[in-house]
């Protein structure tokens, strides 16, 4: 196999000097043309996790975020260090429990919305009273 990768012209009358090589390594001749371009497979950690000190993975229990593409049993990537903004899907601390909601910050006030009409929105008097545990950055949905 290695030899096939490195065709050599055999001059008549000269016995070629065969070097036994392991099939995967290319001992002589041209290096693999891809070698200079290969810098490792895609690493999901690198693409999905901005900061490994503040990123946690959590599992969803319930269907209240169905409309946001987040289903019961999905895993979420949560970054605790991100600043929550209007529209962020957040993990909030409600009654001592980690709860997932969409945060709405408008002139009218702060609201935690579900993404399922079955569940009512929760109005929060002050943003400072709200305890946000982290901001959801990705959903790992089972298909």
């Amino acid at each position: 196999m290695s030899l096939a990768l490195n065709p050599r012209v055999i001059v008549a009358g000269v016995v070629p000097w065969l070097v036994p090589v392991a099939p995967v390594t290319v001992e002589c001749g041209y290096p693999s043309p891809a070698q200079d371009y290969f810098s490792g497979e895609i690493d999901l950690n690198e693409h999905l996790i901005q900061d490994k000190t503040s990123t946690f993975i959590v599992r969803v229990a319930g269907d209240s975020m169905q409309g946001a593409g987040i289903s019961d049993g999905d895993e979420l990537i949560v970054n605790k260090a991100l600043e929550p903004k209007d529209g962020s899907v957040v993990v909030a601390i409600l009654d001592g429990e980690l709860t997932i909601k969409r945060l709405r910050i408008t002139a009218a006030g702060v609201v935690l919305e579900a993404a399922n009409p079955k569940y009512p929105s929760i109005r929060v008097p002050e943003l400072s009273e709200l305890r946000i545990w982290g901001v959801v950055t990705r959903c790992l949905h089972y298909v």
């Binding site: 946690f56 959590v58 599992r59 229990a61 987040i70 895993e75 429990e97 980690l98 709860t99 997932i100």
Partner: protein
């Protein structure tokens, strides 16, 4: 930097219902309280208090207890350390929840930096920490303690920012064993020389202290006086020892059972040595009966010099078995352990083939490790160590929280309802 009530704080990250409530974390085997939240301290629970004494009142207090979740604490610790390393190129991780960082700057800059570190730990990882800033490591530890005790500091105390009179008053108030590096057992001898408080020690003559005690104590004196002499250990080059010790959920009563314990511990010590690419020259095996049962006490131990520096589980287990004849059948042994000392990097000096351990050549240690990694601890063992169903003396962790950050099947659950 030191994390406040580290184990309890780590538990609170994923269980906000523990916020504001008394929380304790128990030692191996749910033996005694090793970490107390501030609320638990306020209840008068002392460090090391056995769980069986606390348990009857837990409900009345609203106290929550957790078994030691080492997987979780290790993961949270590493996040904190990686985060803080961004603030200084010079970091010495001193323990699971403490590190020293080398920083330079003016007073106000340093205080700002300390506050930034504290805020980063809260936001990124979710744990409260205190920061002590001082010209020496000993004073930094003292400042840190002060920041913890006195809320007015807001968790960050810079020694030199505090008026000198206040610093002196603090040192005069605190007993000498409150300082880093002074063992409680030395307090009597120090008291005999009129040294009771930290201030007394700081005012002592360093040379006299060296002559009467040790160089270590002299360094403490100099550090208290503001001269740095305990260098930053950027990397611990050689570990002096490695200890593997646990208490049992059910006491061990026979030499035969102890033999099994020793085999398991030897195997685990071997795995750790191999992981750090170390070999040991000496093995110490020990066992102890309960501290709370003063009748029938027995504290056997043996020191076994090994024929060659080794990490071989077979040889370590054989050496550890020397403890077995010293076990009195019938007594209740509640803990045992092995310690390997005189450690050296493996392969530093290849032994002559003549002396090479036969098992080492066959790489039994790594083989056992590979199997254990794939099929779990307890799936394979040496001789009697490999038992079906796991031995019944192994660690009890009845109040264990999930391994939230290290096991895919135990992720924290967020409610979508």
């Amino acid at each position: 930097m030191d994390v406040n009530s580290f184990y309890a704080s780590a538990e609170r990250i994923f269980d906000p219902s523990l916020e504001g409530r008394p929380v304790i974390v128990l030692s191996n085997n749910d033996g005694c309280a090793v970490t107390r939240s501030d609320e638990a301290k306020a209840l008068g629970i002392v460090l090391g208090e056995p769980w069986f004494r606390i348990a009857p009142r837990a409900k009345e207090w609203g106290l929550q207890a957790r078994s030691s979740n080492y997987e979780l604490y290790g993961s949270i610790s590493s996040r904190v350390m990686i985060l803080l390393a961004r603030y200084s190129a010079w970091q010495e991780v001193y323990s699971i929840d403490e590190c020293f960082l080398g920083v330079k700057g003016s007073g106000e800059d340093l205080l700002d930096l300390g506050r930034a570190m504290k805020e980063a730990c809260r936001r990124h990882v979710g744990v409260p920490v205190c920061v002590g800033i001082a010209p020496t490591k000993t004073l930094a530890k003292l400042s840190n303690k002060w920041a913890k005790k006195n809320k007015a500091f807001g968790g960050v105390c810079r020694w030199e920012s505090v008026p000198a009179a206040e610093r002196e008053a603090l040192m005069a108030r605190l007993p000498v064993n409150e300082i880093w590096g002074v063992a409680t057992r030395l307090t009597k001898r120090l008291a005999g020389m009129g040294i009771y408080s930290i201030k007394d020690l700081a005012c002592a003559d360093a040379v006299m202290i060296r002559d009467k005690f040790s160089v270590v104590m002299m360094r403490t004196v100099l550090e208290l006086q503001g001269t740095p002499c305990i260098p930053m250990e950027e990397e611990r080059i050689g570990r002096e020892q490695l200890i593997f010790s646990r208490s049992f959920s059910t006491p061990i009563r026979t030499g035969l059972d102890m033999r099994q314990v020793m085999s398991v511990y030897a195997q685990q010590a071997s795995a750790r040595l191999a992981k750090h690419q170390l070999q040991a020259k000496v093995l110490t095996a020990f066992a102890a009966t309960s501290y709370y049962n003063p009748a029938d006490t027995s504290y056997p131990s043996v020191v076994v010099p090994l024929p060659m520096p080794t990490a071989d589980p077979v040889i370590l287990a054989k050496a550890a078995h020397a403890l077995v004849p010293r076990i009195h059948d019938g007594l209740k042994y509640v803990r045992a352990g092995i310690m390997v000392t005189d450690l050296r990097p493996s392969g530093n000096q290849p032994p002559l083939a003549l002396f090479e351990n036969a098992h080492e050549e066959r790489r039994i240690g790594p083989l056992i490790e590979d199997v254990a990694k794939r099929f779990g601890r307890g799936s394979i063992g040496l001789g009697v160590a490999g038992l079906k169903g796991g031995p019944d003396w192994s660690m009890k962790r009845d109040m264990l929280s999930p391994r939230y950050t290290t096991e895919w099947t135990e992720l924290p659950v967020v409610k979508a309802a």
